[in-house]
Symmetry: D2
Subunit: 148 residues, 4 copies
């Protein structure tokens, strides 16, 4: 069996907690242009953000159910530098750039080895999952997001 | 503007209520093989089933919320006869093949003009959306599904 | 059958050629938050851009094969204002904002009736589909994109 | 960081070469029913088949380009036993059930721990990627698929 190192890794240094997730490119990620479809990178980036939060002990499923806290993306900026192809093994990074009262900003990168393929800024807000209205990040949550 | 006929149409004749939905193929449906990715047809088939139910006055969103009724697919058989390509205009059909106490069976086809590209059987069951346990189809619902 | 008006419509006025595409929300567009998954809007936006180009007589499939011209998205900015839900009927707009030597910029909106749900800027570049290197837009293409 | 064991593993015993791939459930896999969307399992199953072939030294990208060999799914049977939810860690298995002159049959399972969630049969055929016509599996390929 091929053995890509698949466990997400914590990154040290940098502005805040960070995580790096390996992603293999399969047919369902690609399009008829022969490369990864541009929308699919948002799935990879979501995966890396969830693994980053999981790594901080924040389980989004129980946050939504028990604490009525949901993170909604309200703005994305994505730059596509180079295309990825079938069977490539990519590394998808997520780092917390800023923790506000309601907001949570991420910086993200997708790399193939040392090559930067995609970079993005993802701005999320804490909302109540029943009303989708913005709500303050619960204090214990904010603390965990700010400290490593 | 190109003007594909986009409104779902009721089909007459056949074993039960039926519906036909036009679908244009975009990049996000295709893969690096240059054709539509096999899993994407399940999305087209789901769309045609929902339009069929909508056409019978069954709004799945309010069924789930108000009546605690959710249809879950529990078996699919799909045959892929010919590939579809970028910019093709397909017709996706859904017909109710059988209405049971809990079950709802669909027959589905995807065509490009007269050509049959994909055919499938989709077996769904009525479940409670809170427990995912099978539950009997509410009587008024069953009647609407059986009669045209 | 329900009868949403499904044919893409040309929009008049505004800075350049434009198109508006109706999209119904199905289960495969939504996520466990109960609303449309943020990445799925990129598929809707791609669909509206392709229908806009189709409406101008530009078939991307034959452009790629015959003319070796492929449009690659190289930057996106997306703002999410309000969530969409299962069975909503949305309108996805695409307008050409700027035609450069290599670049093609789009402005896009997703609406539910008069309500603005999502807005975005999509910057695409003309590349050779074999090398993915930027290439000038063929002159006849540029003319068609600039004039209504 | 959470540390799910992410490397695909070869399975011993059984009827033929097999592979097992860990998959974490993210928002983009789920739908408004609160569980994984039924079509998404086809992506997981495709991923496990590709990792199985990768593990046998068969790189699909170069097979398509150099050897003009593409595997097309021509029939699927999928049984859904139990739903998966956000943040679940699943194991997706793929085993080669039969190697024919043109055909390649797979047996697949998706599990959460010991619980079987989804099982499927996937029948693929070897086709020429230019014509999509069936073609015999190249002899060296067939040998590698038959022997462990």
């Amino acid at each position: 069996m091929s053995n890509p190192e698949r466990a997400p890794r914590a990154l040290t240094g940098g502005p805040g907690p960070a995580c790096s997730l390996p992603v293999r490119i399969y047919y369902h990620h690609t399009d008829a242009g022969g490369v990864v479809y541009h929308g699919r990178y948002l799935d990879f980036m979501e995966a890396a953000r969830i693994e980053l939060l999981n790594g901080l002990g924040l389980d989004l499923a129980s946050l939504a159910e028990r604490d009525h806290v949901l993170f909604m993306v309200y703005r994305m900026e994505v730059d596509y530098h180079r295309p990825a192809r079938l069977n490539d093994l990519l590394t998808v990074g997520a780092a917390i750039a800023r923790v506000g009262r309601v907001r949570l900003d991420f910086e993200q990168q997708v790399r193939r080895g040392a090559e930067l393929l995609v970079s993005g800024k993802v701005l999320a807000a804490c909302v109540d999952p029943r009303s989708f209205r913005p709500t303050a990040l619960p204090e214990p949550l904010r603390l965990r997001l700010q400290h490593r």
